[in-house]
């Protein structure tokens, strides 16, 4: 790939993004590039010509044509400004030398070789040009010097930014290390300490896995797309929060829509109740879905309860479970008695018309 290959910047732009593109390509500050172009523009409008040529040929296509056009643009501008004979030839040589240096690639990169032909043309051009332009060249001289300066300072600037990139990379690495230390290593230490408590270990591992996934793949795990997947997520959450293992079984599956989402939320509430109040050692959840209906059963073998003794202010059962199902067009049946355990049955009629 040629050193001249660049794309106009879509984001960092003042006119057409040429300067932004060059800056991105060379990994230097866009303001610096703009400054160079501004000063070159003062030098008889050469900066504008070069800018236009680059604009037309952005994308790195036909670089030799671009270089030729650049030379022509530069020379034509200088001649248009009233430069004749030797100074015009000098200017052409100067621009051509610059073009060769850029096109041959690698000149602005550390370790890249400077094409000798280009440098020779550049120096010869500068000597002839400065020697013959006299007083009229008072604005042109700084431009030529600046061009040479860019070639010399460029690699150094590039190396500087490369170092900065490296520093950022090391910083990121340190962040990752800190993150892993805080999460994964802590979890592994906990796992070792609780090696004889499989439920605890499993819950720790599951939580860590989900945390790591969220962190690695953005703001969260890709959301569950089906009823069973969403129930599995809910079960994992409740398991993690209350430390009671939940066994999930299913037959068939249904897509997740507004109604089934309500069903999952109600099931989650039922699991939470079972985990918090029943005292059962495990909870069984079974989902059965076919086109005609969807049913979810949440069962525990815990203490059970008497509906009559549950205070009216306890919203979980009436609002979060029964009310939710009713609003979704389904029904919730709660079978329980003190000492008998509890089973919550949530049903939705099929969504198919």
């Amino acid at each position: 790939m040629s050193a001249l290959y660049f794309e106009r910047s879509g984001r960092d732009r003042v006119v057409a993004g040429v300067c932004g593109g060059i800056a991105a390509r060379l990994a230097v500050d866009a303001t610096l590039v703009r400054l160079v172009f501004a000063i070159l523009a003062l030098a008889g409008g050469a900066g504008i010509g070069i800018y236009l040529a680059l604009w037309v040929y952005s994308g790195g296509r036909r670089t030799w044509v671009a270089a030729f056009l650049l030379s022509c643009a530069g020379a034509a501008l200088l001649i248009g400004l009233g430069l004749h004979g030797a100074s015009a030839i000098g200017a052409i040589l100067l621009v051509a030398g610059l073009a060769v240096v850029l096109v041959r690639g690698g000149s602005l990169r550390p370790g890249g070789s400077l094409p000798l032909v280009g440098v020779a043309l550049l120096i010869a051009g500068a000597v002839i040009f400065l020697g013959h332009s006299g007083a009229r060249g008072s604005f042109i001289a700084p431009g030529a010097v600046l061009g040479a300066l860019v070639l010399v300072v460029g690699p150094w600037l590039f190396r500087l930014t490369a170092e900065r990139t490296e520093r950022i990379r090391l910083q990121e690495r340190a962040d990752v290390a800190a993150r892993i230390h805080d999460s994964v290593l802590q979890t592994l230490a906990l796992v070792q300490r609780h090696a004889d408590e499989p439920t605890r270990v499993a819950a720790l591992a599951r939580r860590q896995e989900r945390e790591l996934r969220r962190w690695l793949y953005g703001s969260g795990v890709a959301e569950a797309a089906s009823l069973v997947a969403a129930l599995a997520d809910a079960a994992a959450d409740v398991e993690e929060l209350h430390g009671v293992p939940i066994e999930l079984a299913s037959s068939g599956d249904a897509p997740l829509d507004d109604r089934t989402r309500q069903l999952v939320l109600a099931a989650r509430e039922a699991m939470t109740n079972a985990a918090k109040f029943s005292g059962a050692a495990e909870i069984a959840v079974y989902a059965e879905a076919d086109p005609d209906s969807v049913a979810v059963f949440v069962r525990d073998r815990g203490s059970g309860f008497d509906r009559a003794t549950v205070g009216a202010d306890r919203r979980g059962l009436t609002d979060s479970i029964e009310g939710r199902l009713k609003r979704a067009g389904g029904a919730a049946t709660i079978t329980t008695a003190p000492g008998e355990g509890t089973e919550v049955e949530l049903t939705l009629p099929g969504s198919r018309p």
Binding site: P198, A202, E247, A249, S250, S251, G252, Y286, F297
Partner: protein, 211 residues
């Protein structure tokens, strides 16, 4: 007399854990981590029950059953796994395993399951019951033996209660049956699952793989 058990699982740590849990309850006579090691070992030891991982590096639990069952018909297999695709679990059952339990099972329940399998019963965890209901989901019957291709209403009921987390005793009480009858229903489902040439069963597995 304690039951003689062989563990087949490619995770040594897991085998050590199970062996520890079952110490004193059953006699763990051997262990293997691959199909190639397991088949000669089981033929040699002739144990009562083999605890079998569904997934093994050189094939699955199916491979172990296929290698052992013809010569050692008395050896019973119980599949034990973390969380598997339904078609893999059904595959091991159809190959000849008499049950499937998940690795989160408690020690006492596992010991109980081994005992039941050794006696020739079937052991269905809630998860397996769900898978089986799914596999036998009502569909158009395609030829074959009608008796083998359909679950009876009662069998369906029993399976659904297993999936909902009920134990055999609780199911018996709820359906006003004896525990023996419940066991008979489960064994009958296992037989249908293993013997049915039901087209839907393979089509079901195919679809699950494609989804």
């Amino acid at each position: 007399m304690k039951r003689r058990v062989v563990l087949v699982d490619d995770h040594e740590l897991f085998r050590a854990g199970v062996r520890g849990e079952l110490a004193g309850v059953v006699d763990v006579v051997g262990e293997a981590g691959s199909v190639a090691d397991a088949v000669p070992l089981i033929r040699e030891l002739d144990p009562d029950v083999v605890l079998l991982d569904v997934h093994l590096p050189d094939g699955g639990g199916e491979g172990v059953i296929a290698g052992v069952a013809p010569d050692r018909p008395a050896v019973k297999f119980l599949a034990l796994s973390v969380s598997d695709a339904a078609e893999d679990v059904i595959g091991v059952i159809r190959a000849g395993a008499r049950g499937y339990v998940t690795k989160t099972i408690s020690s006492s329940e596992l010991a109980d399951a081994i005992e039941r399998v050794a006696e020739g019963d079937a052991v269905f965890s809630p998860r397996l019951a769900g898978f089986v209901l799914d596999a036998f989901r009502a569909g158009d019957q395609v030829g074959g033996d009608a008796e083998l291709d359909e679950l009876t209403a009662r069998e369906r009921e029993v399976l659904q209660l297993i999936a909902r987390g009920y134990r055999y005793k609780e199911i018996a009480a709820r359906l006003h049956l004896s525990v023996k009858t419940v066991e008979a229903h489960v064994s009958s489902v296992l037989r249908k699952l293993q013997l049915s040439s039901r087209h839907e069963l393979s089509r079901w597995a195919q679809q699950r793989r494609l989804v």
